[in-house]
């Protein structure tokens, strides 16, 4: 018996050393669990390992709710990943917590990044250094129910805010008791409307939501914030196009065929693809009278963990280079349905003419990213801002001022 054990031990040791000489470096890649993302990454890893036989990449995944905590906990235990995916909004926290390191300037020169990627990548830049690069980005668009549009005799999606209001009024249906059967447009600040208000409506009213580096709230500096909120709340109060809380969630109402339009992101495509009861389409977010357009884009960037050094750092850099390449982006678009972050990969004719991806892609050149310090808390200030007007009839200007004050406090608390 003992001999067997001994033999087994020796052969196991031999295997290990053989394996380690064949693949000299092993690195860990972390992302959160989302079926298609994991699948896409498996494909990318396979391609990468084929091209770099001396590097092994292990993909480790955690549920989204737990993901940040995992990284932090692992970092506390000094067992962090070599390459990890992070929401761009976490960048400040991760840099301050020393969880990630800047990308090496020689492989990723800032000037080149800015030339090749959409401008929104600058959210990963601090003091002239980039801390991560996205494979794919998401933006917002207007989803509309083609069947309901046809019933109402409307040819196509609204292109301006005025049309949005006009069509919305025509599309909303109420029953005898005055309750909505169908809403023209969903009003759901807890969904994507807070992004729409912040980065799109405020800008379309001639304002700027934040200063350059997002350390100061500026949407209350002029009337733009209040005008944007007035426009938003009037969708219910004046025009009766929709009601907050209708069917609990905007996307749920749209899915159930009880909303003619909803504003949502690329990430909703998967769940809307299951809709069988009606045809739907996607359009760019409506422009204002002067044709000003804006959008909110967000992304998960890939960054290098602070614990990676030496051989592992080299391998991590190579891997990061690959997963931010045109090739990787095309894989990601096909498998996950998220938009390429490089202009060249995104703006192909095939992609731009795609009826679904086209409108999302068209928005990328003019899209903005909000540098959140605590997205949940900042979203809450927007939800509350709208609710004060909806539920308590607070004057819009006061509500915007109050929201600005609260949000500034959140940003301030996170920055010191």
């Amino acid at each position: 018996m003992q001999k067997h054990f001994l033999m087994a031990g020796i052969s196991a040791a031999a295997c290990i050393s053989a394996a380690s000489s064949a693949s000299a470096v092993e690195i860990e890649y972390w992302q959160y669990i989302y079926e298609t993302r994991v699948e896409a990454m498996d494909q990318l890893i396979e391609n990468f390992e084929e091209a770099n036989p001396d590097i092994t990449v292990n993909q480790v995944t955690f549920p989204y709710a737990d993901y940040q905590t995992r990284i932090v906990a692992a970092n506390m235990a000094r067992k962090g990943p070599d390459v990890m995916q992070l929401f761009y909004g976490w960048a400040d926290k991760f840099i301050a917590g020393n969880l990630i390191q800047p990308l090496p300037e020689d492989t990723f020169p800032a000037a080149q990044i800015e030339e090749e990627f959409f401008p929104i990548v600058s959210a990963m830049k601090r003091d002239g250094q980039y801390y991560g690069l996205p494979t794919a980005v998401r933006s917002l668009a207007l989803f509309y129910n083609k069947d309901l549009f046809e019933e109402a005799g409307i040819d196509g999606p609204p292109e301006t805010l005025d049309e949005l209001v006009e069509y919305g009024k025509q599309l909303a249906v109420r029953n005898d008791a005055g309750n909505f059967e169908t809403v023209g447009l969903t009003l759901d600040m807890a969904g994507q409307d807070h992004q729409w208000w912040r980065e799109v409506l405020v800008r379309q009213m001639g304002g700027v939501p934040y200063n350059e580096d997002y350390t100061q709230v500026t949407y209350d500096d002029d009337a733009a914030g209040a005008e944007a909120l007035e426009f938003y709340t009037n969708l219910q109060k004046k025009h009766g196009i929709g009601a907050p809380g209708f069917m609990d969630e905007g996307q749920a109402a749209f899915r159930a065929g009880r909303a003619a339009m909803t504003i949502d992101g690329t990430f909703r495509l998967g769940s809307f693809n299951d809709i069988e009861d009606f045809e739907w389409g996607v359009a760019e977010l409506p422009a204002n009278d002067e044709g000003v357009q804006s959008n909110y884009a967000s992304y998960f960037a890939n960054a290098i963990g602070s614990s990676a050094e030496g051989e592992e750092l080299e391998a991590a850099v190579k891997f990061l280079e690959y997963i931010s390449s045109d090739e990787a982006m095309q894989v990601w678009l096909e498998v996950v349905g998220e938009l390429p972050a490089r202009r060249e990969a995104a703006m192909t004719n095939a992609n731009m003419n795609d009826p679904i991806y086209g409108p999302f892609l068209a928005a990328l050149p003019y899209a903005h990213t909000t540098l959140f310090v605590d997205e949940a808390a900042q979203r809450q200030t927007a939800i509350d801002m709208a609710n004060r007007v909806f539920l308590q009839d607070q004057p819009v200007a006061d509500s915007v001022a109050e929201a600005a004050e609260q949000e500034q406090a959140i940003i301030g608390a996170a920055r010191d």
Binding site: M76, A96, A177, D384, N387, A413
Partner: protein, 312 residues
């Protein structure tokens, strides 16, 4: 009682391999071997974390960086935070309305249920059933009841009867009572059973004597039943109050899309703690909030015990 002398004089068993310990010492050995693991448990899982929470409340710990001592900064920030005072008020609203309403309904039902013989167990089971359900599951059932049209059951029924809709969870005034109703509903079964046990424990002779004295039902209730039920009532008041001060499951599940209800009008302290700690990762600040919760629980329990004892 342990009699330390007996073993010295009566060596009942000749087989005593170890050097003979006195009965007292052996008993102490048993005691501490019984207590070793639990005492360790209480130290590590109860007392140490308690002190740790106090300590963390004086730091700026945010999971990312090392905790740094910042004195009472978290408390200063909390007392200056209107959101904190809002949750504080909400929490006490749950407590101040929830406790007496629960207590009153539970007592009335228990009082009459106690007198019913026909299908007694069946009736009792109807009232008790909600208590054994999972709060998280039932919160979703109630949430569906409360939906605005065209989804919600209550509004659906109102609509069929030709009434206008009532905004429940989406209203700043109705949301908290709506959630409170579900919490009262869930706790009632337990309270009824406890009240009935208390009623049973009152000896019949008291009632007989009272009847002989010619007291009516109302007088019996006031002079005999209620005073003798005081220990039960005290227990329940404390029990229900603590449950309302710690309300979380229902609120969390009924307001997932705008946590804490419209404008935070349903948010209790525990939800604020949860968000501060596990959504904003502001651990030091959250720890300070838990210290406040702890203090409130302590004060409320002591106060109630003291008031009710005083009236004896």
């Amino acid at each position: 009682m342990v009699h330390p002398t007996s073993s010295d004089t009566v060596p009942t068993h000749p087989v005593q391999p170890a050097p003979r310990l006195s009965m007292r010492a052996r008993s102490a050995l048993w005691v501490w071997s019984f207590l070793a693991i639990p005492v360790l448990f209480y130290c590590v899982i109860r007392f140490y974390p308690t002190f740790n929470a106090f300590w963390l409340s004086l730091t700026d710990w945010d999971l990312m960086s090392e905790a740094e001592f910042i004195g009472f900064e978290n408390y200063r920030r909390m007392f200056a935070d209107p959101n904190f005072w809002q949750t504080f008020r909400n929490t006490f609203e749950y407590l101040i309305y929830g406790t007496p309403i629960s207590l009153l309904i539970a007592f009335i039902i228990a009082y009459y249920l106690d007198k019913v013989r026909f299908a007694h167990n069946f009736l009792r089971a109807l009232y008790f059933l909600p208590y054994i359900t999972t709060a998280a599951a039932m919160a979703w059932v109630w949430r569906w009841f409360y939906q605005p049209p065209p989804t919600g059951l209550i509004n659906g029924a109102l609509g069929e009867l030709g009434f206008g809709q009532i905004e429940f969870l989406g209203s700043t005034t109705n949301a908290l009572p709506s959630i409170m109703v579900t919490a009262i509903w869930a706790g009632l079964g337990f309270q009824i059973i406890i009240f009935m046990a208390g009623l049973r424990a009152i000896p019949d002779t008291y009632y007989e004597a009272a009847r002989i004295d010619g007291l009516g039902d109302w007088a019996i209730l006031r002079k005999i039943t209620l005073p003798l039920l005081k220990p039960t009532t005290v227990f329940l008041v404390v029990f229900i109050s603590i449950a309302f001060l710690r309300i979380f499951d229902q609120v969390y599940n009924m307001t997932t899309n705008d946590p804490g209800g419209p404008l935070g009008t349903t948010k209790p302290l525990v939800l604020m703690i949860y968000e501060t700690a596990f959504s904003s990762y502001d651990m030091g600040y959250a720890a300070a909030q838990t210290v406040v919760l702890f203090t409130i629980l302590l004060v409320v329990s002591l106060l109630q015990l003291w008031i009710l004892r005083d009236r004896a």
